[in-house]
Symmetry: C2
Subunit: 326 residues, 2 copies
Amino acid sequence: MALTEFSLIERYFSRPAAQRDPDVVLGIGDDAALLHVPEGMELAVATDTLAEGVHFPLHTKPEDIGHKALAANLSDMAAMGAEPRWATLALTLPHADKSWLAAFSAGFFALAAEYRIQLIGGDTTRGPLSITVQILGLVPAGMALRRSGAHAGDLIYVTGTLGDAGLGLRVLQQPIELSAGHAAHVMQRLNRPQPRVAEGIALRGIASAAIDISDGLGADLGHILQASGTGARINMAALPLSAAVNSYVNHSGDWHTPLCAGDDYELCFTVPAQKRPALLDALKSSASGCTHIGVIEAAPGLRCISASGALITPRAGGYQHFSANE
Amino acid sequence: MALTEFSLIERYFSRPAAQRDPDVVLGIGDDAALLHVPEGMELAVATDTLAEGVHFPLHTKPEDIGHKALAANLSDMAAMGAEPRWATLALTLPHADKSWLAAFSAGFFALAAEYRIQLIGGDTTRGPLSITVQILGLVPAGMALRRSGAHAGDLIYVTGTLGDAGLGLRVLQQPIELSAGHAAHVMQRLNRPQPRVAEGIALRGIASAAIDISDGLGADLGHILQASGTGARINMAALPLSAAVNSYVNHSGDWHTPLCAGDDYELCFTVPAQKRPALLDALKSSASGCTHIGVIEAAPGLRCISASGALITPRAGGYQHFSANE
C-alpha cells in the first residue's frame, strides 16, 4: 500500500480532537486551517525548531522528541501568559519510519491532550530530522507578559529548579558521578520538560516582565534586561537547585550549569515589590513554585553574587546556535 | 564581533515593516508575537517546509529560495480565498553565511513587501538547509474556499498555465532542446512562482471548491474530488500551456509534465455553471486569467480525455515526498 505524504499525515496526525473545539472552524486537511479568535483576545504566535544533535541528543527516544517539540513551544506561550490552543507541525524525516512516527506522535499528542491543544495543520518532508512547531494561543487584550516591563527595584523570580536539563546533557556527554535517582531525575528534566503554562497565566497582572529559560538563566534574563533597559543582581546562593544539581555543584564547583545551561523551560520573571503578596497567592497551588533570586537594578549588566559575596560574571550568553567565530 | 543566533535574526529579519500594521500588537523580539484579529474575520493558518534537493534544486539562488518559501505559503492563502497578513520563519542553516542570509532575506522581503506581509517571528537553527514558513491570513467568516464544496456539473478551472515549473525542473535534470526564451520562462516559473492571492480573494462567493497546484493538477484536483466525494472529466486539449510547454509537449508527447508536475502554484477551482458570468467578471482584470478545463462528475475518479477522444489515466499522484516503497 502506498504510504504517501498524505496518508502519513492522515494516519499519525489527523486524530480527532479529544473534545470538539468550537473555535476551530476547519481543522487539518485543507490548504489552511480556519480559526475563530474570540473578541477581546489577542492571538499569541511563536515557532520553535528542534534539530537532532542541536536541541536533542542523537538517540533521543521519539516519544521524548514529540513531547519536547511541543513543550518548547508551550513554554513560549507560558512566557507570554497566553493560553496555548492550536499547533501546526512541520516534520522533516529521513524516511517514513512507522514505528518512529507512532512513538513521536504518541509523545506529541499526550502533551497536547494534557493542555487541550489541537493540531490544526502540518507538512511532512523528506530530509534530515527536524521538527518545527508553531503554536497559537490566546491572551486577554493588553494582559500579555512581555520582556520589556522590568523596572529597577522589581524582584526577580524563577519557577522550579535550574540546571537539571543541563546536567542531564552533561551526563550524556561525559562520565559524571551521579546516583541512579539523581541521574533519572535530570534525564527526565532534559527529555520531558514541563512547560509552566498555568504559572504564566497566573502571572497576568502581577509580573512586570517574563521570559522562559530555554538558553540559560544568564542569557534569558539578559533578554529581559536588554528589552527593559535595566540591569540586575542575582544572589547565587538563592538559585533553586534540585538535590541532583545541588550535589553536583557542591562536588564540581560548576556554577555554569545552573546559571547558563539551557533547556529547563522554567519561567524567569520580575514582580514589583508591592505585588509580592499577590504573587505568592497566585502561585500557591503551583506545582513548580517560584523562588526569589535577585533584583532589577538601574545599572546595566548582570551581576551574580556568590554565597561568599564575590562578584561572578557568567560566561557570555547561554546556548548560542551560531557561535562567535563565524 | 559575535554573530549570535539573536543578532542574526535581528540583522536580517527584524526590518521595520513597510508600513505600520495596526493589527500587530507586538512583533518580533519577544517569546511570541501578539496579533489582533478583527471581528467577523476568520484566521487562516498554513505551514510549508522547503528542503534543499526536495522543493528546490541544489544551487538554487538564495534570493529565489527566499521568494519561493514565502510564495508557497501565500499560495495556500490564495487557495482559501484568504488575505495573507503575517508570517513566521523557521530557518535551519548549515552555517551563518552572511551573503546567503542577505540574499535570502532580500528575496523573502521583496515578496513580503509586494503583499504587505509582516514577519512577526522566527527561529534560526544550525543544520541542513531547511525553511519552514507559517502564514497567517484573514478571511471574512464563512467565506473561505474549501476543497470539499464541488458538486457534479460544476465547471473546473485553472489559473495561468500548467507544467512550466515542471519543465524548468526537467531542464535542470536532463538535456532538453528549448529556445533560450522558453528556457528563461520556465526557469522563472520554477524559481519565482507568483501566488494567485488576488484571484483567490476574487473567487470568494463564486468558487465551490479550490486548491493550489503544488503537487500537480492530477494530485491536487484529486484532493478536491476526494474531499467533495465526486469525480471529474478533464479535457486535455483545453489545458492552458505556455508556448514553452506547448512546444515541449508537441515534440515529446510528454503530457505528464502539464498534468502531474508540481510547483506551478496556480489555483484549480470549481464553479457552478450559473456562476460562470460572475467568475468571468471577477477575474477580468486578473494577470493570470483562468481556463475552463473540465467538469465535475458524480462518478468517482479522474478521467482525462485526449484531443483524439482517448481516455488517459494520469500516473498515480503528483509529487509525493514519501514513495510507495517504504
